[in-house]
Amino acid sequence: MTANQWMQIIAYFVVLLVLAIPLGSYMAKVYENKPFFLSKWFGWLEKLIYRVCGVKAKQEMDWKGYALAMLLFNIVGGLILYAMERLQASLPLNPAGQSAVPPDLAFNTAISFITNTNWQFYGGETTMSYFTQMAGLAVHNFLCAASGMATLMALIRGVIRKETKFLGNFWVDMTRGTLYILLPLSLSFTVILIQQGCPQTFANTATATLVQPTSYDQPVTNAQGAPVTGKDGKPQMTHVTVTEQPISLGPVASQEAIKMLGTNGGGYFNVNSAHPYENPTPFTDFLELLAILLIPAALCFTFGAMVKDSRQGWAILAAMFLLLAPMMYLCGQQEQSGNPLLNKLTVGAHGEALGDGNMEGKETRFGIAGSIIWASVTTAASNGSVNSMHDSFTPLGGLVPMWMIMLGEVSFGGVGSGLYGMLAFVILAVFVAGLMVGRTPEYLGKKIQTYEMKMASIMILIPPLLVLVCTAVAVATGGAGTNNPGAHGFSELLYAFDSQSNNNGSAFAGLSGNTLYDLMGGAAMWFGRFWLAIPVLAMAGSLAQKKVVPESAGTLPTHTVLFVVMLTSTVIIVGALTFFPALALGPIVEHLKMIHP
């Protein structure tokens, strides 16, 4: 990698840290119900929402109550979203006249957006109306992010409270998270994005006259729409000349902002943040990158502040960074070295020149550095937006995003869900480490016993099972829809279910959807989200009831370098042991074949 690329990476992490620290302590105030400037200005709105909905804000919930509210809310949200997609043709704000979304795709998409996955088996500008995008998809970008943070807060309260069963009020956490964290951040970000060139309009698709008309060959179809074959047995083609360029527009900026901040990743356009309207300049790229990790990183500091030991937050952040940084390097090194099969064609300078390296599927304005930082960061976090096409990465470069997802979305991960996923690994690491020092393991004074192990095991078990089983079903039924032959086709399928089961949403986008994939993926996203969130809440409930063991020299410290190494190794080993065979049959063998053709 070049010096400039290193500088971009370093600048990224430094600025991220500078922003995350204050945001983290601010968020702690929001969830601890302490007063702060925004609550003074918008307290009336918060109270109004409680009154309209009938929320009893003072009434706390035990874990079952919290889980019930969380689940019901998500189910209701999903159903309404499904209905909106199916009915979009008869709803307002549909200037392009999009028709109803087919049932299986609508099912997949509804679950995708309530689970913070934002997996897209569709192209935004060709499928969804402005209304569906804005009042459906974007709303859930906010709400599922707030729901993830609320679940995390219940867990943190379980850790810090003692001998109680109450974990807070789900509706209050949802409202405050949305009103005081997501909305203000999104609104400010929207304004910057518009200034940089993201459209924010309700006007219909614009049409421009091409400077140089272009042409293409189109297969001739008969009245039934079937292709017509010529005398030579080949499909008959007509030459079509195009003189106009239709340009899709819409309320892009407001959706883009929350898509990045809420680790949602569902693009307004098909190509997501590679689209110049979603991500027009290197500056917006840098900001959007920051937005991906901002809240997940800040939540580590929120955690530190709430458990009253900032070192605990730093330790977790350090482990997350250690999981991400080497992978980012591997990705950068592979992509900059380029594709040896192309390098043979006397293409490129084979050095570190600009515009060199593996540029297939990458935008010029982001270059290799902007693309590889994004690819690794968007998959480390469960954002899943892309600014380059992972499918066209070199095999090992493409392994990196796949691998980051396989780690279970715990290196930063989704807003809320990343940290609670990581805490499940912390509990696993604490358990093994605790035994190694000869004591019943404890974390932050709470004893880790059978019940916690059960819940943590479920959390660690579910996502890999979903990935492997869904991929197995897909390949066993023939593995249809792949865009590339051989091992790369296998990678596309593996990536698809990896991404959905772990609620990431990015893709080896060559894979085209079908009813089986829609339904199976929908189920994987659902279980991948809520079969983790419910054990988290159950664990929170159990932890809250425990006493706090006072710290002593015999207590395993969970803020040391050693523990961070132990935690990092636990995450890596679990991921590696689960996915090594699958990776060997996908990207690894493709890489070996590529370098030894």
Binding site: F431, V432, A433, G434, L435, M436, V437, G438, R439, T440, G445, I448, Q449, T450, M453, S457, I460, L461, P464, L465, L468, V469, T471, A472, V473, V475, A476, P485, G486, A487, G489, F490, K547, V549, P550, S552, A553, G554, T555, L556, P557, T560, L562, F563, M566, I573, V574, A576, L577, T578, F580, P581, A582, A584, L585, I588, V589, L592, K593, H596
Partner: protein, 690 residues
């Protein structure tokens, strides 16, 4: 500490032979299913055996020889794990047998009521029931556990404690408990039987060491959950590999799909068989080490809790200090010669058989060369200590020497018209402040001076407390002394805290408060008045010499009746957990190397390129798979000694221990199999087996 049950050699011939036999007997499915990890291996063995039989008919998925070899080693994996368990149980049984020898059926004299001349009936010890009264006379074995209700006797308890000196057992008070299997050597006792047959101390002890009644402990259950989760993951990894492989064959257009045999081999290698196979052996061995320390734990749970203890309550007397105070100094009154004081003090103590009295005689002899004289030669009359006078002394002719507590002597002197000097009062105060006991000596109406009696802190105890502090364990000294004295001794011994003027209620309160603060408390006790506190403590070691009530309340009994044993108990508990944790880490870290052996081999025909991952350069795909399976089986046997002995424990802080064990078992576990598999591969090739 008396090494009553000798530490056994690791692999005693007899035990090993029996264990080998036992490991085959344990192959029944009902036994296997108790251990989920090993059960999956068991199923894998049966499956591959079936595949081998199929291959023999010529319709196999691979060469029958290869399938046979894999199948054979899978069976070995199961058997080795059974062997580890059988070894641990065998060692326990061997100890139980030693114990059992001391307990043949004996005849007991059952009494109709608690009087020596009540009607007697002869009855076998096995027929005794709780509440029966028996008479035990000199030369009789005590037929069952119980409590002396009448009489006093010398009892030889060497069968239980290994201590050869007989002990006194008498009705009432704290020395009333007797243990079945011990023998009365003088006088007689009437004993009320306190347990039904099969529930006596020895019975419990035997069943514990045999592992027959072993229940899984909380940490063991939690670990089992983790291991089960990992096993499920690997099961799915291997199961899904079949469709992946079939797809890859189609995609690459080469080779054929991976065989079920290879997948079974891969699964067994990945499943945490090392820890899964050794888990129960580790638990049994933990109990075993307790027994070797002469402590009987009533449950595995108690052993495990011992590792968690973070507060120790220790009785001052006998644990922190030598049992008795000793004279360390003579402080004469202003106009008295120190020799005169020493002589008077010695004379007054000649007939005093208490350890304090003897220490005064010794001090006078050592410091001032005063030879003790025989009380008979002096024609002296000894005045014993009474609760009323609170003095003792001697009358020789006209000399009447008295020694006693300051107030008593003051009253005594003033009664005779003498006066109590100020400097003596000061001396008394300063000794009290230092935590000592002042003993004032007077001759007639003249006060001669003060003897400084001091609690002697046991040698080396300070270091032990420092050690405990490093382990994060808080020590609290319990004493009946006043706070001033207690503070001084506490400071000298280096305990973290003390409870002075301790009453049973105060002890109980202290424990409850500590537990409410999240601490786990261990204590030792022997008296009936200790029982509530023992019952409340998380780890409660009752002294074997203690009362039945104390033993019932505790969850461990120390046969040596040595309260310092608490520290030992904590170590054994920690060692048990550490062994589990370390072997789990080792087991999981092992998997990495196994992947590098098996994955390139499994897909060699589909993707020959994957041979780049064969970083061990194993000879052939078959040898690679076999080597991994063999390593996986053999490592269990290699680790049996570690499981039985426990990992090395040094008192250190948690982070220090983690660092060491993570390096040894984590990093070691990563590296060892690479070497091991390569060596096995070389041997297989060398022997021409592949």
């Amino acid at each position: 500490m008396t090494e009553h049950v000798k530490a056994r050699k690791l692999f005693e011939g007899e035990i090993t032979r029996k264990a080998i036999l036992e490991s085959f007997k344990k192959l029944g499915p009902l036994h296997m299913i108790k251990n989920p990890v090993m059960f999956t291996v068991y199923v894998g063995s049966i499956l591959t055996t079936g595949l081998w039989l199929q291959a023999l008919t010529g319709k196999g998925e691979a060469a029958s020889g290869f399938i046979f070899a894999v199948s054979l080693w899978l069976w070995f994996t199961v058997i080795f794990a059974n062997f580890a368990e059988a070894m641990a149980e065998g060692r326990g049984k061997a100890q139980a047998d030693t114990l059992r020898k001391s307990r043949q059926e004996v005849k007991a004299k059952k009494l109709a009521k608690a009087e020596k001349d009540a009607k007697q009936t002869e009855i076998l010890s096995g027929d005794l029931r709780k509440g029966d009264l028996i008479l035990v006379e000199a030369g009789d074995f005590i037929a069952a556990d119980g409590e002396a209700v009448v009489g006093i006797a010398m009892v030889d308890e060497s069968a239980i404690t290994g201590e050869s000196a007989p002990v006194v057992r008498e009705s009432g008070g704290d020395r009333s408990a007797v243990t079945g299997g011990t023998r009365v050597i003088s006088d007689w006792l009437i004993v009320r039987v306190s347990s039904n047959p099969g529930e006596s101390f020895l019975d419990r002890m035997i069943s514990m060491v045999e592992g027959a009644k072993r229940q899984k402990t909380p940490n063991e259950i939690a670990l089992n959950i983790l291991l089960a989760a990992l096993t499920i993951v690997f099961l799915i990894v291997c199961a899904t590999l079949l469709p992946f492989s079939i797809y890859s064959v189609v995609a690459s257009g080469a080779g054929k799909a991976v065989t079920v045999t290879v997948l079974a081999a891969l699964f067994v290698c990945l499943a945490p068989t090392t820890i899964g196979g050794l888990l129960s052996a580790i638990g049994i061995a933990g109990m075993d080490r307790m027994i070797q320390a002469n402590v009987i734990a009533m449950s595995g749970r108690a052993v495990e809790a011992a590792g968690d203890v973070d507060m120790l309550l220790l009785d001052k007397t006998g644990t922190i200090t030598l049992g008795n105070r000793q004279a360390t100094e003579f402080i004469p009154a202003s106009d008295v010669d120190v020799k005169e004081l020493a002589e008077a003090a010695q004379l007054s103590s000649l007939a005093d058989e208490t350890p304090e009295g003897r220490s005064i005689v010794v001090l006078a002899k050592e410091k001032y060369g005063l030879r003790g004289q025989e009380i008979h030669d002096l024609k002296a009359t000894f005045v014993p200590f009474t609760a009323q006078t609170r003095m003792s002394g001697v009358d020789i002719g006209k000399r009447s020497i008295r020694k006693g507590a300051a107030e008593s002597i003051e009253a005594y002197v003033k009664d005779q018209g003498g006066k109590y000097p100020e400097d003596v009062r000061r001396g008394v105060d300063s000794i009290s402040r230092l935590g000592g006991t002042p003993l004032v000596v007077a001759q007639g109406k003249e006060v001669l001076g003060v003897i400084h009696l001091k609690d002697i802190v046991k040698g080396g105890i300070q270091e032990r407390f420092a050690e405990l502090r490093r382990m994060g364990i808080k020590t609290v000294m319990i004493t009946g002394d006043n706070p001033l004295t207690a503070a001084a001794i506490a400071a000298e011994a280096g305990v973290d805290d003390f409870l002075a003027q301790a009453t049973p209620e105060a002890k109980l309160k202290l424990i409850r408060e500590a537990q409410a603060g999240g601490r786990l408390v261990a204590m030792a006790g022997d008296g009936t008045n200790d029982a509530p506190a023992l019952a409340q403590a998380d780890v409660a070691v009752a002294m074997n010499t203690g009362t039945q009530a104390a033993k019932e309340a505790g969850n461990m009994v120390d046969l040596d009746s040595n309260p310092t044993k608490l520290i030992e108990v904590v170590k054994i508990g920690k060692q048990l957990l550490m062994t589990r944790g370390s072997l789990t880490t080792f087991s999981i870290a092992n998997d990495i190397a196994k992947y590098f052996a098996i994955i390139p081999a499994a897909f060699a025909v589909t993707y020959p390129e994957l041979n780049a991952l064969n970083i061990m350069r194993l000879a052939t795909p078959q040898s690679a798979i076999l080597s991994a399976v063999i390593f996986n089986a053999v490592i269990i046997v290699f680790l049996v000694p570690l499981a039985l002995k426990g990992v090395k424990y040094r008192p250190a802080s948690a982070s220090h221990l983690l660092q060491r064990n993570f390096l040894v078992y984590g990093v070691g576990g990563l590296v060892v199999p690479f070497v091991g598999i390569k060596i096995i591969d070389l041997i297989l090739v060398g022997l021409g087996l592949v």
